[in-house]
Symmetry: C2
Subunit: 302 residues, 2 copies
């Protein structure tokens, strides 16, 4: 029997669990709602348990919602830390899974796993470093792969909260971020769109002015990320980010904002290869968790 790996995408509304060794070799997959941590983590462990007991499971990767503690030297390494989500604050997600399954458990943020998954499993992305994944949905997150590894630091990246220009004459909406008002998240998540226009984002038709404005903010963010990280490719995912008309508006606006400052075909005629939808669809995170389990599993690095 080949080695199998487990992937968990631990989201705020649902968990996705997968056993396999890659996108083309998924052995089992399940999704269930995120309820109380005792119940939800137990459900995840139960799903993997048969594979662990047969010693087929080499390691598990977890792609977690945040904020999380990624410092291996910290006493709360692998915890979900200060989330406002009821019951999930200070939960030792990584420790519980490791305790339950007795296999190495690799732990990172949802977006760092998504960026790693899109990079690791898609051959044409492999040479592209730095490589970014930005999700725009109920929140905004940016996963960064730099010099071969997901980027961690003081904490993890929180690029959703970057400050961007906000023209209040064009858009008087004050923003919904409880910390910053009109930061990127405050202006252009799904909930911000719904609040500004008085209807859910998914009900706004193509051609509605909401989408030009949304593209403006997403393009400002991608322009700033281009200046700051000089990525070779940016994947735009998430429930809002994957709205089909949006990516074309963003691809048109980014070169206008750059205004020729950086000379590169990827930022002009090849922009459709620079800003791309996720090749793994909605499975970037869980498949990235499996990829991290393969690559960072201490057993594979001896």
């Amino acid at each position: 029997m080949d080695q199998l790996y487990g992937g968990i995408e631990a989201g705020g509304t649902k968990f996705i669990c997968m056993v396999g060794s890659g996108p083309a070799s998924v052995v089992a997959e399940t999704r269930f709602p995120t309820t109380h941590p005792d119940e939800t983590i137990h459900q995840a462990i139960e799903f993997f348990q048969p594979y662990a007991q047969r010693e087929e499971l080499a390691a598990v990767g977890i792609a977690s919602f945040g904020p999380v503690d990624l410092d291996p030297d910290s006493p709360t390494y692998g915890y979900i830390t200060t989330t406002p989500k009821p019951f999930w604050s200070q939960v030792d997600l990584r420790g519980c899974v490791q305790e339950g399954l007795k296999v190495p458990v690799i732990f990172d943020t949802d977006v760092n796993c998504a960026v790693f998954g899109e990079h690791y499993w898609i051959p044409e992305n492999r040479p592209l470093d730095p490589f970014l994944y930005m999700t725009v949905g109920t929140g905004i997150g940016v996963g960064v792969l730099a010099n071969g590894r997901p980027l961690h630091g003081l904490v993890h990246t929180e690029a959703g909260h970057m400050a961007i220009p906000h023209d209040r004459q064009r858009d008087p909406f004050p923003g919904v971020c409880p910390y910053h008002g009109d930061c990127l998240e405050g202006l252009c998540t799904g909930p911000a769109i719904a609040r500004r226009w008085g209807q859910a984002a998914e009900t706004l038709p193509d051609g509605h002015p909401a989408w030009e404005l949304e593209a403006e903010y997403v393009a400002l963010a991608l322009t700033n990320l281009t200046y700051t990280l000089s990525p070779r490719r940016i994947v735009l995912g998430g429930g809002v980010g994957q709205r089909p008309n949006l990516i074309d508006l963003v691809r048109r606006r980014v070169p206008e904002l750059l205004n020729g400052y950086i000379q590169s075909p990827w930022l002009s005629e090849k922009i459709a290869e620079y800003i791309v939808p996720p090749a793994l669809g909605t499975r970037s995170g869980v498949l990235g968790a499996i990829a991290l389990a393969i690559v960072l599993n201490p057993q594979n690095n001896k």
Copy 2:
């Protein structure tokens, strides 16, 4: 005789050349104005030639003004590319130095060398990754060290051109960037300060409102860099950045802008250890070029 290394900080107004093996073991150092590339590059080669001829020089690092081509697979690798500086566009700086001295030549941007120098030579900085260096002077540049190496990508980082909020009621100045008007560079380089206030930045006294405004923009930039890269330390250098009163204003403003979103002592009571002046003063770049020559010299990686 110990191995010696050469460092060149190739700036738009002056070249600094150094022979040595570290900050405490500098054998020779010289500076001369940047004139025509034929003359200036010849002068640099002449300075290093005796060491090269005695076979004491193991490698040379170059910290170059930009934009530059950092792609080793490109036919113009090591060139200064599209600079508006007369005579310096499309100059093969790396190739000329390698041809003249017959030693390996490592090539990077001025700010990537500065970040590498501050990280490599200052023991307390060594464990801190990601690690940033931001220079604010006649231009603004940000060098990024991530997962152990300077960050390169599509081109090199150009974080000086990030878009930031610009309150035109508080500051009606339209900015001086020829590409973007009021991007970060447009609002807060030395020339922008001089144009806004009608006098050179260095003549503006402490307490002048120019410094509160300057601190606001620098703090917005460092806040965005904190969200985007999650650095463990940021070095603030450059002629304007090293103005003594500025760093304290910036240290006060960054936590206010973050507004408690990221919980870390480094962003509150330890902020003075998070945003620091360059430990190597004005020699971060040239000493970083030497550090890169030591670490990335292919002879040392066999």
